[in-house]
Structure formats: C-alpha cells, structure tokens
C-alpha cells in the first residue's frame, strides 16, 4: 500500500494509520452503480478500502450522465460494471475490485453478500431494498441505506450492532406504482452525489469506528433548503428474526399462490360467524352486504387495519374477487402468521349461487 497516498487522512486525529489499516482490511459491497453508487464507489476506492464489490446489471445510458459522474458519453451502451471497473482500477491500484454485472436476486444475494463485511444499498427500487434488508439481517451484516426522491435524500445505517432495520421503519413493501422512481420522477444531478457521499462517510465510520454511526436515526436531507433532520426510531425485535428470504420480492410473481376459498363456502362462514372483511366502496356496501361483515374499503385498509382481529382467520370479500386479493397481498407480509383468505369470485359468485 502506498502510504503517502493516504497521508492527508492518516494525519487526522482519531483516524490515523490505524483507521487506514482498518479500511485496507475491509470488504465492502455496493448494490447498484448508479446515482448513489457512483460517489460511494469513487470515494471508498480513492480512500483505500481493501476490497470493493459492486453489482449492477444495467448499462450506461445518456440520461445517466448528469448524475453518474463516473461515466462519460463514450460509455453509453456499455455495462456499468465493465466501464466502472476500468475507471476505478485507474483511480487506485491498491484496491481489489470485484464487479458483478448482474442484478441482486434471491438466488445470488446471500452468496454474494456473505463475502463482505458491510453492504451499501444504493439500489433504486423497493424489491431490491427489501431483499438487501432481509439478506443482511440473515447474514448479520450492517448496511448503509440511502434513497432519493426529487430534491430529497434519506439516509440511515441499519442492522448495526443489533440496531433497527429497514423493516422497523417500513414493515411492508409499497405496492407497484405507489411511489415513483428517479426515471419517472426526475432527479437533480448533484442530489445523489450528496446523499451517496454521506453513505460513503457512514460506511467509513462503521469500518473504522470513528464518530457516531447513524443507527436508530433516519436522516432527512432537503436540498432545496439545506435542511438536515434526524428522526429517532427503535428496533422492533421481530424484524431481526428473519431466517430465510421470501420466495420472491418482485411485484408480480407468475407463480404466486393466493390462499382462496370458494364463494360457495360463504354459507358456512356465515354459520360459523367467521370474520369477513368487505373491501368494497361505501356505495356498494350500503346496497348489499353479508350479515355481520366488517366494512373497510380497500383504499382505507392501511388506516383501518386495526379493526381486523388477526388472531383468527380473516376472509376478504369484494364484488368479483379482485380487490379482496389486493387486500390480502397488502396485509399478508405484516401478518405472516395470520390466516388470510380471499373469497374467489366474490359476491357475484355468491349471489349467482343463491338465485
């Protein structure tokens, strides 16, 4: 290792040659080589982190260049990992760089992450973020979270020394199209530069022990007024109990199995005084509903799910069986131990049978 290269940071009080040694021995995995990933990669590489792995299956596009400053027009159409490797190797020959030109999936996540001390989540979508969280909890690795929305950035260090995880803040993954991504929403070039640099700083703190790691705090950065706000949150111990990955994290799983019961069973459910949740609109409910059914319109399910007793089976019903499936999908992750069912064919099928 070229000691002179790092002298400006090794003369720093508290960091010193000890801190540099810790960086040189560290193995960091960066998930995503885009807006957030580029500053993390560039700084950790420049600062002499011993082994840096990075994973991204994407290619460089022209619309990336205003924020992903590692790449230039000549890289458009090339793999981000291939272009990135070439530039990062030139930037610092001390470090070991490992590129994975693929996406993180349930098949490769545990195997790849296992080989690193710490993960930096610089991905750009919810399924990957939940996959990173669950993998890191299973493997007991801390991970530095960063995410963007417009002029805003969010940052925290999760799963650090028994501290809270991503699921302690957001227990269940948002549904598709609920929250737009950078491609749809737009992003000002410098914002990922700032938030990614803050992520790199947290990674260095975790690795070297300097300062106070941002655990149990969510930092909210607003670039329009230069405000930094820290929100304190606690660990929910059940979120540290993840033992295996979900079968899928994608929004649409073709093989998805929804627990359904046939509308013909409604008679029996009524006789048993089963808990039936009607997720149709108020107008539909007022026109007709099953006796003793509980009315929670689908679009109010999040706010009123407290009305449901999850310790006994829950039967969702709607007019045709579509909305009841959506309701089930919305709640099943958070109530994995509960018995949730969607009534197939809904009230349409039930009324056909009755008439």
């Amino acid at each position: 290792m070229n000691q002179n290269r790092y002298i400006r940071q090794t003369i720093l009080k508290d960091f010193g040659t000890e801190g540099q040694k810790k960086l040189a021995e560290a193995k960091v995995l960066i998930i995503g080589a885009g807006g957030l990933g580029v500053p993390v990669l560039t700084y950790l590489n420049a600062m002499g982190v011993g082994k840096i792995g990075f994973i991204d299956g994407d290619i460089v596009s022209e619309t990336n260049l205003h924020r992903q400053v590692l790449y230039g027009p000549g890289d458009v159409g090339q793999s981000k990992v291939v272009s990135g490797l070439e530039k990062l190797q030139k930037q610092n020959s001390d470090t070991e760089l490992v590129g994975y030109a693929t996406y993180l999936t349930t098949k490769n996540a545990l195997e790849i992450i296992e080989g690193y001390d710490i993960v930096v989540d610089t991905s750009d979508n919810f399924p990957t973020r939940y996959l990173v969280n669950d993998s890191c909890v299973i493997l007991n690795k801390p991970f530095v979270y960063g995410a963007l929305h417009g002029y805003e950035g969010h940052l925290s260090v999760f799963n650090y020394n028994g501290g809270p995880t991503y699921r302690c803040l957001y227990p269940a993954m948002p549904s598709e199209n609920e929250v737009p991504n950078c491609n749809e929403h737009g992003v000002l070039g410098i914002i990922p530069g700032i938030v990614g640099s803050l992520q790199a700083l947290e990674a260095v703190k975790v690795l070297t022990g300097i300062g106070e790691v941002l655990t149990g705090r969510l930092l909210l950065f607003d670039g329009l007024n230069q405000s930094y706000q820290k929100i304190k949150f606690n660990c929910r111990p059940e979120n540290l109990e993840i033992k295996r990955l979900q079968d899928f994290y994608e929004w649409n799983d073709p093989c998805e199995v929804i627990p359904r019961i046939d509308a013909a069973e409604i008679e029996n459910l009524l006789a048993d005084k089963a808990q039936i949740i009607d997720v149709r609109t108020s107008e539909e409910y007022e026109k007709y509903h099953l006796p003793n059914s509980i009315h929670i319109p689908l679009n109010e399910l999040e706010a009123y799910s407290g009305k449901i007793d999850f310790s006994i089976p829950v039967y969702f019903v709607c007019q045709s069986g579509q909305r009841s499936e959506t309701a089930l999908k919305q709640l099943r992750e958070r109530h994995a131990d509960s018995s949730l069912f969607s009534i197939l064919g809904g009230l349409n099928k039930y009324s056909t049978k009755c008439s």
Binding site: G35, A147, L148, H149, L169, P174, V179, C182, L218
Partner: protein, 80 residues
C-alpha cells in the same frame, strides 16, 4: 398543528409544511392524523405504509398529539 411532508406525501399535498387548524379537525392521535390525511387527500390511501414522526421521533398509531407537536410524514422513497 404543523405537519412537515416528505417524499411522495409532499407531492400528494403539493406543498410542505401544512397547517391543520380548527378545533373539530384537530387529530388527537397519530392514527387520527393518518385518517385525517386520507380524508383530506385521498391519494394517501394508496400508500402501504408511511412513517410518522412526532418531535423527531418515530410514532406509532396510538401516540397522542397536541398542538405544539412537530409532526413529519415520511413515506418510503426508493430512488438511487
């Protein structure tokens, strides 16, 4: 009651912060605040989960609210 909005919440409402005033409208708990937001801005109902912070601390539904509390609505963001 002043409510700061982040991420998609700010987009739904179109500005941040917002003031909730008038005695009848005043939510007295985090759960009531969530219900109030859904009523006033129906797009909130589309959000699977959004965190609420009271005085810079994450708050569950049963936490009570007063006029002086500093409230923030923090939906998850995914951009990278």
């Amino acid at each position: 009651m002043e409510v700061l909005l982040f991420g998609i919440a700010k987009d739904i409402v179109g500005r941040s912060p917002i003031m909730i005033s008038g005695k009848e409208a005043q939510p007295t708990s985090v759960q009531e605040l969530k219900e109030f937001l859904i009523k006033e801005f129906p797009d909130f109902a589309k959000l699977t989960s959004f965190a609420v912070a009271v005085n810079n601390e994450y708050a569950s539904g049963d936490v009570s609210l007063t006029d002086k509390d500093e409230i923030a609505i923090i939906p998850p963001v995914s951009g990278g």
